[in-house]
């Protein structure tokens, strides 16, 4: 198991954002995490990546316990992440944005730059190398973020709503890109998303969360039929079928 979360609880004061989540991400797979707003998806991401310290429970990466590690240490051992919303570094050029990620594994600027160029090629943002992120469309900014995360040379890539704000064509493009880099780099992907179409197309395994709990897990087509899942998304009425 590449990533293993055991009974993870995160409380903010009296609010329980994650109430005992357990899940496993298998190496080389694409795992999707879905759930309605406020289900605790981002909280779980933050607990794994070292942004929150879990109240209880454990996180393992490649068999090593990483519970409560600071974010920069988590990044160094091979877990990269992107954030919700636009988080490209605004005062650095596209090339520098990717390069700064590459510095995670090397001190040498030439090596960092070469790696950045390779990744920009892969994500087809090479031509925008000297532009500032704010001058570019959202779809390209998402690629910059993806590039920065990839440049750290991760084993596990956690993407928090990477397709938010993209139109259907751009969404299709990012799905293709993600599948391609996954194959080329031998990555494992762990992603959250609101857009059902996106997550159902790309994921091999899906975990469904609602109100801080895991309510279902399995292949996309199975999860979609699960009564609890429909209930969580559409309300009780629809789970039992329309009554009138």
């Amino acid at each position: 198991m590449l990533l293993e979360v055991r009974n993870l609880v995160k409380e903010f004061g009296g609010v329980v954002a994650n109430a005992g989540i357990s899940l496993e991400v298998e190496e080389g797979k694409i795992m999707g995490l879905i759930g309605p707003n406020g289900a605790g998806k981002t909280t779980l991401f933050n607990c794994i990546a070292g942004y929150y310290r879990p109240t209880r429970g454990k996180v393992f990466f490649e068999g090593e316990e990483i519970t409560g590690w600071p974010a920069h240490r988590v990044a160094k051992i091979g877990i990269a992440r992107t954030f919700q919303g636009m988080k490209a570094l605004p005062n650095l050029t596209v090339e520098e944005n990717v390069m700064v990620g590459a510095f995670c594994q090397t001190r040498d600027r030439q090596i960092a730059r070469r790696r950045a160029h390779g990744i920009m090629e892969l994500l087809s943002i090479r031509e925008e190398a000297n532009a500032l992120p704010t001058e570019l469309p959202i779809a390209v900014q998402k690629r910059i973020e993806l590039g920065r995360a990839l440049a750290t040379n991760p084993k596990l890539l956690m993407l928090d709503e990477i397709a938010a704000g993209l139109n259907p064509i751009e969404t299709k493009e990012i799905i293709q890109t993600l599948k391609r880099i996954k194959e080329e780099k031998g990555l494992t992907l762990f992603l959250t998303e609101h857009i059902m179409e996106f997550i159902m197309t790309i994921s091999e395994v899906i975990t469904v969360m609602a109100a801080g709990r895991k309510i279902a897990e399995g292949p996309p087509e199975m999860v979609a039929k699960e009564e609890k899942v429909i209930e969580a998304y559409l309300g009780e009425r629809y789970a039992k079928g329309p009554s009138d």
């Binding site: 920069h72 990044a75 990269a80 992107t82 570094l89 650095l92 594994q105 600027r109």
Partner: protein, 333 residues
């Protein structure tokens, strides 16, 4: 090793107009003592170079690191007093006192950075300001530092390179230019280094910085420590240039703020911003002050000064360099 030298001396990655501008600047500074013969003009130039040097160092934490430090004067003071006291007590040569002053300032900065970077934004700025004020009061209070009377450097009868005392301002001009170039080349290395990029990532977004393996806290502490050391170098120069130092002269709040202001006006976080800022503010300050003072209109120069800074701060937060950059990007399209 070869790569290190290239990183220090090469401006190849900068656009052509910047390199040409820099070359013209170097030539003007080199020829300056032959063009301008007036003592006041030369003094203005020396002060400009001194503040450009201060700005370069402050730019590391304030510009690249994005942490508003309003206490750089304490480091200037450490450098000035290290040089002054060691010369006075034991006759230590200038060039030995400089690294010692820098190490003292860096060590102090490292020590206070530890608790201070628990704070963020405005609270950090206030903390830096307080620490600097405490040091100034201590230097006034203590006897061994000469207290409020300060330190007077014994004047050597003949110009000499051991104590860096010269009869003519021309020597001091090249002397400060040399120190300025050292810091400029250091910053040229820094902006391309891993540390330089880490600082910028921390400035732009701390969460993102952590997500790519940057220890945010450690990066800030290192940047603040280096900035401390760089500030001390200018302080050492002040001691041998003015031959007299006291806490009100080398470590006041005004100095901290002026250093921060020159960089912000010129363009924080850019290579040339500190130089442009000092080139605007220092001559303005000295000529305007002298001219209005002669007409018995004291204080008006401060108003004009403040007005200029407000306009720049309101119109372009990235300073004069930000305006130049924007124009250039527009032209390229």
């Amino acid at each position: 090793m070869r790569q290190l030298l290239i990183d220090i001396f090469s401006f190849e990655d900068r656009p052509r107009f910047e390199r040409i501008g820099f070359l013209i600047f170097i030539i003007i500074v080199l020829l300056f003592p032959w063009i301008v013969k007036s003592a006041y003009g030369r003094a203005v130039m020396i002060k400009f170079l001194l503040f450009a040097l201060f700005g370069l160092g402050w730019n590391l934490i304030g510009g690249y690191g994005g942490q508003v430090d309003l206490g750089q004067a304490k480091n200037v003071g450490f450098g000035a007093y290290a040089t002054g006291l060691m010369m006075l007590w034991w006759g230590v040569p200038f060039w030995i006192t400089v690294p010692i002053g820098m190490v003292i300032a860096a060590a102090e900065s490292f020590g206070v950075a530890y608790p201070m970077f628990r704070l963020k934004g405005h609270y950090f700025a206030i903390a830096t300001l307080c620490v600097a004020l405490v040091w100034k009061e201590l230097f006034v209070f203590w006897d061994w530092t000469g207290g409020a009377r300060g330190v007077e450097i014994p004047i050597r009868p003949t110009p000499n390179f051991t104590y860096m005392q010269f009869g003519s301002p021309v020597h001091y001009h090249y002397f400060i230019f040399f120190l300025f170039l050292i810091q400029l080349l250091f910053m040229n290395w820094f902006r391309k280094s891993k540390l330089g990029y880490e600082c910028q990532a921390v400035r732009d977004n701390e969460d993102v910085a952590a997500s790519i393996g940057i220890n945010v806290y450690r990066t800030k502490v290192i940047a603040y420590t280096i900035t401390g050391g760089l500030g001390a170098m200018g302080g050492s120069f002040m001691t041998v240039y003015y031959l007299y130092i006291d806490p009100d002269f080398v470590m006041p709040l005004d100095l901290s703020i002026l250093i921060a202001m020159t960089v912000m006006v010129g363009g924080a976080g850019s290579m040339w911003g500190p130089i442009i800022g000092a080139a605007l503010l220092i001559p303005l300050d000295m000529y305007l002050g002298a001219w209005l003072g002669a007409q018995k209109r004291l204080g008006i120069d401060f108003m004009i000064y403040a007005a200029i800074m407000m306009v720049i701060a309101a119109r372009e937060p990235k300073g004069v360099w930000g305006i130049i950059e924007r124009m250039r990007r527009k032209r390229i399209g």
